[in-house]
């Protein structure tokens, strides 16, 4: 499908490219293809490209002399290049312990959504989510695909200390806190997996366009895995999706 794109100057050295203001998995593919083409066509040290739900920001490491010329060059890329992002995305399986000790808001959340705890866990861990982009905090994934039955507005009073690894729901999104942080999401579980490590290369194994599924683990499995992660014996491995 062809989308109508809007190109505009963001500042002296960046250009913003916008798609229609929707969250859509097919549109994400189009965005990531374009991102890939820009990254391939420009030398990595000269240009940094970041994407979000419906836009790309192309950040140059120099001042753009003539913004219209540069926009023209970007538009030309769009319509001449045919090497697209590999259609095989990765599927990551993330262990989550939904025990009350970690999912401190699970009881209240179930009540508000008029579901049993088992139903919440079942709905949350049966869906396949897509990573739209990584932002907010280093290693924080913006995931699409949360079941409508689990949509619930953020808490009116944020929790000041949500623990690293906490799995939460806020509005129409679910996500994992990669570091201790304040936040307003309903916490329903916790994963022992590291989502960001500055000493690893790359510091985060996930990429926009990858898919992700949660699977429930018991508290004792959680504690075992936590030790494995701590000692570097746990390696998250993705499955290749057709």
């Amino acid at each position: 499908m062809e989308y109508e794109l809007k190109f505009s100057r963001y500042n002296e050295h960046s250009i913003l490219i916008e798609w229609p203001a929707i969250m859509d998995e097919n549109m994400l593919k189009d965005i990531l293809n374009f991102k890939n083409i820009i990254e391939k066509k420009y030398i990595k040290q000269k240009v940094e490209v970041i994407n979000a739900f419906n836009s790309i920001l192309v950040i140059y490491n120099y001042t753009i002399d003539n913004i219209n010329d540069e926009i023209f060059r970007l538009k030309a890329l769009k319509f001449t290049e045919d090497d697209l992002v590999d259609s095989k995305s990765k599927l990551w399986k993330i262990p989550v312990c939904y025990d009350d000790e970690f999912g401190m808001d699970l009881n209240e959340f179930s009540k508000q959504r008029q579901l049993s705890k088992t139903e919440v866990i079942e709905l949350h861990s049966s869906a396949t989510y897509i990573i739209f982009f990584i932002g907010f905090l280093p290693g924080f994934l913006y995931l699409g695909g949360l079941d409508k039955k689990l949509h619930l507005d953020r808490k009116s009073t944020p929790n000041l200390n949500i623990k690293k690894g906490a799995v939460g729901i806020g509005g129409n999104q679910t996500g994992i806190y990669p570091q201790n942080s304040p936040g307003g999401w309903h916490i329903i579980g916790k994963t022992p997996v590291d989502f960001f490590n500055a000493k690893s290369s790359p510091p985060c194994v996930f990429n926009a366009g990858d898919q992700l599924k949660f699977y429930p683990i018991s508290k004792s499995e959680f504690l075992d895995l936590e030790q494995d992660v701590k000692h570097g014996c746990f390696q998250l491995k993705p499955l290749q999706n057709a």
């Binding site: 050295h13 994407n51 950040i59 982009f133 932002g135 907010f136 960001f196 500055a198």
Partner: protein, 281 residues
């Protein structure tokens, strides 16, 4: 080694930023006032990756364990070398065990201590800029030893370039229209273009919140990329200017975008300082 005798109010090791990891949500960081930092590094003949110490509001006290050459730039914090006042924006030769002492800021807000060859703290994800959780700390601490290479002779460039102190004195910020500028009402646009704003007490390396509020009924947007210098308008009417440690994406309408020179200028402002925007077409 540089021994930190007193760190000051908020002193942090910064280079020009951490590039190439924004895709993973990692802020770009780097010196808040790039103009003053580049000025000092240029005098020393340093390369673009040379790290400096950025001091905020109240400077620190440092002992140099080896000889070197330094430049102090940016805000004025009454620098004294072995209790004798020294000039800023000028090469200073340092002997072993010299003590450099800064006081409370008198003009501007952020002062840079640049050193020949740059400070050699650990590089993480391509940068020495302190930002937790990439680095283990956000600031330097009392008793910490910061490595640098020793240089026995006075060494620097013969540059006679004068430091442009309008960076400290001017309060006019040059801005572009932000991505959502056109959604503003005429009244809101007039307030942004002609109004005077004050830096609120909520100002740091992530963002500067301004006063007064701007009456607002714009809805949040789908989270979209942001950069240092992006001015966001929150649903309750707060104007927030993002600075170097800001998030990589945000969900508030982006109403203005500071030009690079304006970000440097803002970095020298503190609580209560007044500001005006000047819109560039």
């Amino acid at each position: 080694m540089l021994k930190v005798l007193q760190p000051g109010f908020y002193s942090t090791i910064q280079d020009y930023g951490r590039f190439g990891y924004r895709d993973y949500g990692v802020p770009v960081s780097g010196v808040m006032d790039l103009y003053s930092a580049q000025f000092a590094n240029a005098l020393l003949g340093n390369t673009n990756d040379a790290a400096l110490i950025e001091m905020t509001m109240v400077g620190g006290k440092f002992q140099f364990l080896e000889p070197t050459t330094i430049v102090v730039s940016g805000a004025f914090m009454n620098p004294k070398l072995n209790d004798m006042p020294i000039e800023q924006h000028k090469l200073m030769h340092i002997h072993s065990n010299d003590v450099l002492h800064f006081a409370q800021v008198e003009q501007g807000f952020r002062t840079y201590l640049a050193i020949k060859g740059g400070f050699k703290s650990d590089v993480l994800l391509g940068s020495r800029s302190q930002y937790n959780p990439v680095t283990s700390n956000n600031t330097i601490h009392k008793g910490e030893l910061v490595p640098y290479q020793s240089f026995s002779n006075l060494y620097g460039s013969n540059s006679k370039v004068k430091f442009d102190d309008s960076i400290l004195k001017s309060n006019t910020l040059d801005v572009f229209k932000g991505a959502e500028f056109d959604r503003l009402s005429e009244k809101q646009k007039l307030q942004l273009e002609n109004g005077e704003f004050k830096v609120s007490k909520y100002n740091n390396r992530m963002a500067y919140q301004l006063e007064p509020m701007v009456e607002n009924d714009l809805e949040p947007i789908l989270s979209a990329p942001v950069l240092p210098g992006t001015v966001q308008l929150t649903p309750n009417g707060n104007l927030i200017v993002l600075t170097r440690d800001c998030q990589t994406t945000g969900g508030y309408p982006r109403v203005l975008q500071l030009m690079e020179s304006a970000i440097n200028m803002l970095a020298q402002k503190t609580t209560g300082n007044t500001l005006k925007f000047r819109l560039k077409e």
